[in-house]
């Protein structure tokens, strides 16, 4: 361990590991600091991801695939179930192994990693971020860097210390709880989504299979709903009704920032990636793949900036992210806001019209067109996602 690095990454989630890896691959020195004892644990995630989202970064490997997904099941408040077959769509991961493997790829590229290192402040030089303060084994330490990449997740504070506006409105924060339960006899290749006022208003409820009848069961609701009823009580109600005696293997709480990306995700000496930059897909709440993409773009740009000794280059990250995904997320966010306002009746009538399409003809396009006939104002936004 040195007392100065080219790049320091704070947080070893998927976004941090990819930032560290793509920076280190360019031959610059990288240190990644993680506050928890373990990389990848605790897992605060439903663990669903598309195959393409994974394979941009790491070849598929059975050791971190808990289930292979080919179908989505959408469940309306009145119990109607519309199943859509997507073919070879994605996975439910075993993230405690997956995150580990991502960190390993960062290490192989040359980055150093330390766990139980809690970053609690920044160093500044001439108004520019120049390193971090951290606590390791009860001792307060400092380490300098040319660029600090904040990958510190939903609880991110590093960006704020650097002077960026990082606060997320509580209405856009989905408060989530999830259990991993055994003896849940659902189809092991289907992701189940439930909508409606009873199960998860302004959000959705999910059952994602994890193989051998294990499943991630959880929900997220907006803080606005949480004001009246917590995510926990929604989960209790669902479990009491459907699986009253299911053995619970894990239980976690979590927050999913479902908003558009922050206005500014870079500044002098600082870059933000993943949940810390609010790079989650605001419609689905999926943030693994988009966090890895943010990490890759930031790590690559940071590495180039150091190598060329042109640190201003890191400010090009905002636009690079916007072009790759940020812009799409703005559209997804508008769709989310439309869907948030759907009544139970609307969800029911959408499900009924999807059910009229024969299952072999239920392509994503057809399903959306059908949903649109129920809500034409969303047409323009949805068209943009699939056409542009």
């Amino acid at each position: 361990m040195k007392n100065e690095y080219d790049i320091i990454v704070v947080g070893a989630g998927p976004a941090g590991s990819m930032a560290a890896r793509f920076a280190a691959e360019q031959g610059v020195s990288v240190l990644m600091l993680e506050k928890d004892r373990d990389v990848g644990y605790p897992v605060r995630c439903g663990e669903a991801i598309s195959k393409a989202g994974v394979e941009e970064f790491i070849p598929s490997d059975d050791k971190w695939i808990a289930a292979k997904i080919s179908k989505f099941s959408f469940n309306a408040p009145d119990g109607s179930e519309a199943i859509i077959d997507f073919g070879d769509a994605g996975y439910v991961l075993e993230r405690r192994i997956f995150d580990y493997e991502l960190a390993r790829t960062a290490a192989e590229a040359g980055s150093e990693i330390i766990t139980r290192a809690y970053v609690n402040g920044l160093l500044f030089n001439d108004g520019k971020v120049s390193g971090v303060k951290y606590e390791l084994n009860g001792e307060q330490k400092e380490v300098k860097a040319k660029v600090v990449i904040a990958a510190d997740g939903v609880e991110s504070r590093v960006g704020r210390w650097a002077g960026l506006e990082t606060h997320i409105d509580f209405r856009d924060m989905e408060s989530a709880v999830q259990i991993t339960a055994a003896n849940i006899p659902v189809d092991q290749n289907t992701l189940y989504f439930y909508f409606g006022q009873d199960v998860a208003p302004n959000g959705y409820f999910w059952i994602f299979p994890k193989g051998h009848n294990k499943a991630n069961i959880g929900l997220g609701v907006s803080g606005l709903i949480g004001k009246k009823k917590s995510a926990q009580s929604f989960l209790d109600d669902f479990m009491n009704k459907h699986y009253p005696n299911a053995p619970v293997l894990t239980k976690i709480a979590g927050g999913v920032p479902c908003s558009i990306t922050l206005d500014k995700i870079s500044g002098p000496g600082i870059m933000l990636v993943g949940d810390a930059a609010r790079q989650v897909n605001p419609l689905s709440g999926g943030g693994i793949a988009s966090g890895m993409i943010g990490g890759k773009i930031a790590g690559t740009i940071a590495g180039e900036a150091v190598k060329q000794n042109k640190l201003d280059h890191i400010l090009t990250y905002d636009k690079a992210w916007h072009d790759r995904l940020g812009k799409r997320h703005e559209t997804f966010n508008r769709i989310k806001e439309g869907i948030y306002n759907f009544s139970d009746d609307k969800f029911n009538s959408i499900a009924h019209s999807i059910l009229k399409i024969p299952i072999e003809k239920r392509t994503l396009g057809k399903v959306f067109t059908t949903a649109l006939m129920n809500n034409p104002s969303l047409l323009v936004d949805i068209a943009k996602v699939f056409v542009v």
Partner: protein, 95 residues
């Protein structure tokens, strides 16, 4: 015992660390950077807190409470629930 004072008066927000899952949802919504969260340790930085309650609304498992008066807690359900009366100042928070 450590009496806590919030920015615009007395701290009325209470986190029950024994029940906390250390998930960070509250830290994400706090507009004042007033919550410190380590691997398994959480507390409010009293001089920054404004009692805005956003953390209370966002906590998925009801670990943060808003203390309004004389040992009454403001629960999610908006029902007032009596808890053991706190000694001394009604809004005092003890750690």
């Amino acid at each position: 015992m450590n009496y806590r004072q919030a920015k615009n008066g007395k701290l009325m927000i209470e986190i029950l660390p024994d029940k906390c899952d250390f998930c960070g949802c509250c830290v994400g919504v706090c507009p004042e950077d007033a919550i410190e969260l380590k691997e398994a340790e959480i507390f409010i930085i009293d001089e920054r807190c404004t009692n805005c309650s956003k953390c209370v609304w966002s906590c998925p498992i009801e670990v943060i409470k808003f203390v309004i008066k004389n040992g009454f807690l403001f629960e999610k359900s908006f029902q007032m629930k009596k808890m053991a009366a706190l000694p001394g100042d009604p809004c005092a928070h003890f750690v």
